[in-house]
Every structure is written in structure tokens, then in C-alpha cells.
Subunit: 240 residues, 2 copies
DNA sequence: ACCTGAACACCGTTCAAGT
DNA sequence: ACCTGAACACCGTTCAAGT
């Protein structure tokens, strides 16, 4: 029906001007996948669903993508491109660190299934590298020793990802917090006296408050704890 | 064939003494599910596989279990029963905390798919409560304020779960660390100078070393950072 | 009350066949 | 080279039918 001119391959148009078919590209696949992930959650981002949304069959995607795992890695990195790594000038390193990690937290929580995907995917794309580089730069400015900073970046990202995941899980199904709330709320004073006493505190605090508290906790520790308790881990040398 | 005497219901025996059929109970289902999870990973713990291992059909499980999600919660709590919450006497609170959390870490990593399951399941069973109670007790002994302790328990469990998950993921497929290693190892010095400089530190350290470092980091912070920066989060009152 | 087989609506992935 | 339909080997869950 349509003549396949390579120059207009990206905007094939039918006789009456309507788009006939979006040409398949890796970029289009990843974009559509992220769209489905953000709107309907991780389960909705199946190869079959993505293919359907692109008016094709699942098998067709395998030309541009190795498998589901690779697609997930690509989608994660595309989303990480939205993290605001460039902070404004004349801000303290504390503010900038909170800013970058807060932006990461927001990106994770504002895309329905992204935090869950991030928990199960190792981020190693270009945007993930930019993100890490930004964190290392800020920690260097804070005076954190280089090798400590390397591990600290890991800890910070891991924690923010985990709390974002926990937070988004709550909004999902029919109150999955309820089981915890019920268990903690109705716990027996005689068998679990301490849980009983702090049961309110355990359930209190919105995501943001806890997030910033935990961030300060980790920073305080990172600034104080050196890498090695015993400096030589693989030699027999003790008590230098 | 066999007479159904309720008293010997748990050990039905055939004519020649061989067990004819393991009677279905919730406990048997959860036990078998944990076995499959520990041996073959989370994907292997499907209702169909568990049923097959118990010589029955998937539909039969629904008499004892609401759905897969509930089975996962039951399996997690059964595994949490293995965490050594009772530490020996005359140990410092630091040693006891490291001991309990280390035991949790070991339980997670020694069962192939458990850390992954724990990341996606809210622990609210009796053994989870015992675990939390033990942590709260130790933190109280450390002099941590009650409401801080409540949030600290959350942070500690979240982190240990996350790092156990990350650690077990590595051993699973065909070196899923490899993509990170390659990305970090071959990163350009001009675009990502700081990653390039600490690329060795980023990849160094086994699970245990990093685990204990991060633990000290969090403890140091927990002992120092109070709950509220501005004490009243929901009132308009500022600068008391 | 408990168990079962079959069915329903999904998956990821492969492959022979088309253009 | 790219796309496709059909097939393969799986899922969780439901349901009518058996005992």
C-alpha cells in the first residue's frame, strides 16, 4: 500500500495523511516500554504488551532487543536520564547531595513500576554513570576520602532505591501496609513489649520525612567511619 | 485403600509400609515451597511446582492458601524463624546487633531466592515480630531513643535485605556483575574522571566487608541524628 | 470438606516461513 | 534485513465435577 522510501521511513504516511505504521526502532520500543511501566506497573511492561502497543508481535522486538532483561536495563537507564544531576551553583554540598538523591527518589516514585524494576536491575548505562559521577563529585567536595566515597555511593543508591520501592509498594495493591499495621498494632504487650511501646512511631512518618532522616543518618556515618577496621583483609598480619 | 484414621492422618501407610501419600497441610505446603525456593530460586517456587513436588495439582493448594502472595509471606516468615535472635550473654550491644543482623543476612543469602522474595514481601508474621523485638531491645540497651529506634529498625532491616539481594543476584545468572564491571572499568577518564579514579574501589570488597562497614556507618548515624530537624512537621509553627 | 482435570488468560522465547 | 504467526513450555487462578 505504502511505498517504502527510506528517506521518509520515519514518517510513513497513508493516502489520506493518517500515519500508517510507526517504524520499529530500539528507541521507540524502550520509550513505549517506559510509558507502560510508568502508567501500569512492572507486570504491564511485558514484551507482548509493548509489542501490542506498537502494533506488532512480540517476536518482532527481538530484532532490536536481546531479551526482556536487556529491555529492562535500557528502560531503567532511559528513566535515569531524568535525574537532575546538575545542581545550581552556590549551594552547599549537603543541599546538592539531598537534591540529587531526592531527584532520584522522585523519578523512582513517579513512575509506577520503576522502583521495582530498579531493585532487580543493575544500573550500568550512561545515565547511571552520570548519576554516580555527580554523587562522587559532591562527596569529594564534602571531604570524603576517595575509597570511602566509592562505597558510600553504593550505600546511598541502594538505600534510596529500597525505600522508594517500599513506598511505591504501599500505594499499589489493597493496602499492603495493612498487614504490618494490623500485626504491629495488635501485637501483645507481654510477648513483644518494645514493639508495643513504639507501635505508633513504627507506622508514623511519611516517605519524605523518613527519607531525609535516613539520609542524615548515613551521611553522619559516612563522614565518620573509615573503610577498614583491620587494615589488611587478605594478609595474616594482625595488630599492626 | 487406606483407612482414614484421624490419629494417624499424618503418617498414612500403605499395605507394605511405604508411604502412600503425604497428606496436604498448610505446613507441608510452606515447607516444600521454602525447600524449592532455597534450592532453585524464586521462579521455581511456583504454585504449580510446589503442587507437583507434593504429588498433586495446583488447584488443590487453594484449600490451604489464598494465593501466591500469601504463600510467599508464609514462606518468608518460616525462614525468619531461623534467624538467631537470642544472643549469648555477656556480649556488648554492638556485638549482639552485628550478630542478629549478620544471622539475618546469612539466612537470606543461604537460601537461593529468599532475599529476592524478602525484597517484595512485607514481613509481618510472628517470626518477623520476634526479629524486630530483638533489634529494639538491643537498640534500647545502646541508649537509642525510642522513636529513633523504631525508624532505625526499619532502616537496618531494609539495608541488610537490599545488600543480601544484591549479593545473591551476582551469583545467579551469567555474572550480572559483569556489565557493571565492564561499564565502570572502561569508563572514559575525560567524561567521568571520578568514577575512573575510584573504579577499583567501586568493585572491591566482598559482601561481608561491605556489610560490616555499612553497619557501622548506619550505627554511627543512628546514635547521633535525632528524629526531627524541624520538630513540628504538620503545624505552621517554625523556629520554636 | 477436600481434591481434581480442564479451562482461561496470560507469560518469554524460538523458529520456519514470508517479504 | 526485517517482520510475522504459530508453536513451545511455562505461569496464577477459577470452576464444575467428582468423592
Amino acid at each position: 500500500v505504502t511505498e517504502r522510501n527510506p528517506f521518509e521511513a520515519r514518517t510513513v504516511v497513508g493516502r489520506r495523511g493518517g500515519r500508517v505504521k510507526a517504524p520499529l526502532t530500539r528507541d521507540a520500543i524502550v520509550a513505549k516500554a517506559l510509558e507502560l511501566l510508568a502508567r501500569d506497573g512492572l507486570d504491564a511492561m511485558s514484551l507482548r504488551n509493548v509489542a501490542k502497543a506498537l502494533d506488532t508481535g512480540a517476536a518482532s522486538l527481538y530484532v532490536y532487543v536481546d531479551d526482556l532483561q536487556q529491555l529492562q536495563a535500557l528502560v531503567l537507564d532511559r528513566a535515569l536520564g531524568k535525574v537532575a544531576t546538575k545542581a545550581v551553583r552556590n549551594k552547599s554540598w549537603e543541599e546538592r547531595l539531598t537534591g540529587v538523591l531526592g531527584s532520584y527518589y522522585q523519578v523512582l516514585t513517579q513512575h509506577r513500576g520503576l522502583a521495582q524494576l530498579a531493585m532487580g536491575t543493575i544500573a550500568a548505562g550512561p545515565n547511571a554513570l552520570d548519576f554516580m559521577e555527580a554523587l562522587l563529585e559532591i562527596l569529594a567536595e564534602a571531604g570524603v576520602e576517595e575509597s570511602v566515597a566509592a562505597w558510600a555511593v553504593d550505600l546511598l543508591i541502594l538505600y534510596v532505591t529500597a525505600i522508594a520501592f517500599e513506598q511505591t509498594q504501599r500505594g499499589d495493591k489493597a493496602d499492603p501496609l495493612a498487614p504490618v499495621a494490623r500485626a504491629v498494632g495488635t501485637v501483645s504487650e507481654s510477648t513483644h513489649p518494645r514493639i508495643h511501646r513504639v507501635r505508633e512511631a513504627l507506622l508514623s512518618g511519611d516517605g519524605k520525612t523518613r527519607f531525609s532522616w535516613a539520609l542524615r543518618v548515613m551521611l553522619e556515618g559516612i563522614l565518620r567511619v573509615p573503610i577498614a577496621p583491620s587494615r589488611f583483609t587478605h594478609s595474616g598480619k594482625k595488630k599492626s
